[in-house]
């Protein structure tokens, strides 16, 4: 088992630098955990997101007061001075995401049924802002109906009518235990990020290992040894597997610490299985990269392109819903895509029967297929190089 021992020795020498990545992952996850818990309740749930809203009103009438009161129900009102710099700063630092300016003469125009526009300055692409848009338009459209139809309506009466109408809300029934579902989405984040960190560590660790083994002089010396190539390769692959499993174990344990904070579910078992399969796939990608790369200086750059690139187009950082169809099609030629797809599906599952799990198993099989393909390519390339 000389080769196996040598591999472990080389990896052990690099262990400190690899630990840095684990710490990095831990840091990122902790920050995500602290932000995800607040983020989730804001953007994606029925407790309508509370956008931070600043209202700059150039007039003060019962109607503007009514509108403000209504908006206060769905947004945090933030008081800001009406100065350009203060407003710019507020948007820049996201102390508010929506600034609404009510121009002078607004109420009068509304009461006369004349066209008038409120001015908004917003941070783009925010779901919580979309709710505000809807609510403001709803309020003023209803107001328009009243003004058109009822004569001699005072502002106070109008505000009272509107207040009553807008209190109406759709009844929602959530079929599954929603609190549980929310928790699973939470652990889904960690398992998705895991793909980034795991791949980084494996690429850096295995390339360090392969660079030593692919050193031509060393290779020639090793070839003299009374060990068959098959034997050497077997030991080498065994060492790679041990390293992969250990790395996966450490990362998965970290994930578990975060995921189990909210209690255990069957989903977590499946998420673990999926991440293990991805680890195998990541190991074979790393093996391929290690075989290809010649200069140690290029490794950080390559690992960066591969890990970040795959993560971005496969929906690790940017949710898949927001990616374009073409991009997803392209991404489906990468294992990360299938890993994330399986994760996302697993997170929302509540019944674990075959029909529900079948797409997950397909994704896992595809990942295994990728693993085999990358490994095979690496072996062929390695052989070619030795023969040269």
């Amino acid at each position: 088992m000389q080769v196996f021992k040598l591999c472990l020795k080389i990896l052990k020498k690099n262990i400190r630098s690899l630990l840095i990545y684990i710490v990095l992952f831990l840091g990122i996850s902790t920050i995500m955990a602290s932000s995800a818990s607040t983020e989730q309740n804001t953007d994606f749930s029925f407790t309508k997101s509370k956008a931070r809203l600043a209202i700059i009103s150039e007039e003060s009438t019962p109607l503007t007061a009514g509108l403000q009161q209504e908006l206060a129900k769905i947004a945090h009102l933030v008081a800001l001075p009406d100065e350009i710099e203060a407003l710019q700063d507020a948007l820049y630092f996201r102390t508010v995401s929506y600034i609404l300016r009510i121009p002078k003469g607004f109420s009068e125009k509304i009461m006369r049924g004349q066209p008038v526009k409120l001015h908004k300055t917003v941070i783009p692409n925010s779901y919580s802002n979309a709710y505000l848009d809807l609510s403001i338009d709803q309020y003023l459209n209803s107001a328009r109906l009243y003004v058109e139809q009822i004569e001699d309506l005072s502002q106070e009466e109008l505000v009272q009518f509107l207040q009553k109408d807008l209190a109406v809300e759709t009844a929602v029934e959530i079929k599954t235990n929603d609190r549980q579902a929310a928790k699973q989405t939470y652990s889904q984040y960690f398992f998705n990020y895991l793909s980034y960190s795991l791949l980084s560590i494996l690429i850096l660790g295995l390339s360090a290992l392969l660079l030593v083994f692919n050193n031509q002089d060393l290779q020639k010396r090793n070839a003299c040894a009374p060990l068959s190539t098959a034997n050497v390769n077997r030991q080498f692959v065994l060492a790679v597997l041990v390293f992969t499993v250990l790395t996966w174990l450490v990362m998965a344990l970290l994930c578990l610490v975060f995921a189990l904070k909210d209690g255990f579910t069957v989903n977590i078992l499946y998420l673990l299985l999926n991440s293990f399969i991805f680890a195998l796939c990541a190991a074979s990608i790393s093996y391929l990269i290690g075989t290809l790369v010649k200069s140690p200086n290029a490794i950080p750059a390559i690992s960066n392109v591969v890990t970040l690139g795959l993560s971005f187009i496969s929906g690790v950082f940017v949710p898949m819903e927001l990616l374009g169809k073409q991009v997803l099609k392209f991404a489906s030629f990468t294992p990360t895509y299938w890993y994330v797809t399986a994760n996302n599906r697993l997170a929302s599952l509540t019944k674990f029967n075959y029909t529900n799990l079948q797409p997950v198993f397909t994704s896992m099989l595809i990942q295994l297929g990728f693993a085999l393909a990358f490994f095979a390519v690496a072996l062929v390339l390695g052989k070619n190089r030795r023969l040269q």
Binding site: L118, T121, A301
Partner: protein, 378 residues
């Protein structure tokens, strides 16, 4: 002599083709990936119609107004919903199989049944809320002697837009740019590898090459500065290529102050190289350890500057403002963004001043560690 070292160093560095290739290509490749992933986020065009099942019972049949409203929302090019009329059992099944986002059951009041909470579900709910609220308004009006009831229904169906968007500054706030700015900032700090290499090649106890160079009668600081300039030239050229690629191939708008963007990149490149040199001089461990620290800190800094998830940048600046000011990658990202966003330069200069101070600190630190080294044996 300095020029001689500079020239030869340049040749020497450029001959490591794999290294030059990857350091140049990696930000460009990443930019392509970013662009792929994010182009859709800004355009927001590929909105897919939401699949909604409606239980086709007698109450729904009698509710003519709701039918009209739903039909209107499910028609046309930019339709909001894709409707399926079905029985309750079937709707239930469609929901569990995740074939529809929700189903609507009209009893006395419409009830929306969902399996989870999400963006699509929220949109359906908002639509229904709006419908119910308008209905409530119509009913109230009908009880209060309307002028023209015939026109009321038509008028209720039309929605007027009461909002006009105005920009708060010279440029719209643009979320996507943060990703690209932090990518440039990260590339600047990957210059750290060049700086690291310069220290490795001048410290006699690290490499044989350095031991040889140290024997030469050339002043060490001068030799170091000359070869460092060669590294800087290569790295800065790579960054200029990246900027050109971003501007002209990916069509990313840097705002009106392009000259300042180049200037900032030049400073960023210097800061990155100085940082790498400092880490290399400070960490006495193996090469791998140095590389790991450099990548680790750079990635973490980029993460905090919003490269992976942009909300992190705001989270940090709101909750840990100090961390935002000591993270050089965030300072650089922020400098780029403030150039784009603000009309004034005050915020830009604040960032650049702090970054400049850090660069000087890195340089001085490196100098103090590297100077006057003597070795009893090597």
């Amino acid at each position: 002599m300095s020029l001689h070292i500079f020239g030869n160093r340049l040749k020497c560095l450029l001959r490591d083709k794999e290294n030059v290739f990857w350091t140049m290509l990696f930000p460009i490749l990443l930019a392509v990936f970013f662009n792929l992933a994010l182009s859709n986020v800004n355009a927001g065009e590929s909105f897919q119609a939401i699949k909604l099942a409606v239980v086709n019972n007698s109450s729904f049949h009698n509710d003519q107004a709701l039918q009209t409203a739903l039909d209107a929302a499910a028609a046309g090019e930019q339709k909001l919903f894709e409707l399926t009329l079905t029985s309750q059992e079937q709707a239930e099944q469609l929901l569990t199989e995740q074939k529809v986002s929700a189903y609507l059951l009209v009893d006395e009041e419409p009830v929306l049944v969902v399996s989870k909470t999400g963006i699509r579900e929220s949109i359906i709910k908002s639509f229904l809320d709006s419908y119910l609220q308008t209905t409530a308004a119509v009913n109230t009006i009908l009880q209060n002697n309307p002028n023209n009831p015939a026109l009321l229904f038509q008028s209720a169906g039309e929605r007027q837009n009461y909002l006009a968007e105005v920009t708060g500054s010279a440029a719209d706030p643009n979320n996507i740019l943060i990703f690209f700015y932090s990518l440039i900032a990260m590339s600047c700090f990957y210059g750290g590898f060049w700086g690291m290499r310069e220290v490795t090649d001048i410290q006699a106890d690290i490499s044989a090459l350095a031991a040889r160079i140290n024997i030469s009668p050339q002043h060490k600081l001068k030799a170091f500065l000359s070869s460092l300039t060669a590294s800087y030239l290569i790295h800065f050229s790579e960054l200029i290529l990246l900027l050109l690629f971003l501007r002209y191939v990916l069509q990313i708008d840097f705002g009106a102050k392009s000259g300042y963007v180049v200037l900032t990149t030049a400073l960023g490149s210097l800061a990155g190289i100085a940082y790498g040199a400092f880490i290399s001089a400070l960490v006495k461990k193996s090469e791998n350890m140095k590389v790991a620290i450099l990548i680790g800190t750079t990635m973490f800094g980029s993460f905090l500057a919003g490269m992976m998830i942009q909300d992190i940048k705001y989270l940090v600046s709101q909750k840990f403002p100090l961390l935002a000011y000591v993270n050089p990658i965030n300072l650089l990202t922020d400098a780029f963004y403030s150039l784009y966003y603000y009309d004034t330069f005050s915020r830009y200069f604040l960032n650049i001043t702090i970054l400049g101070g850090m660069t000087i600190a890195f340089c001085l630190g490196t100098y103090v560690i590297v100077r006057r080294r003597k070795y009893a044996s090597l």
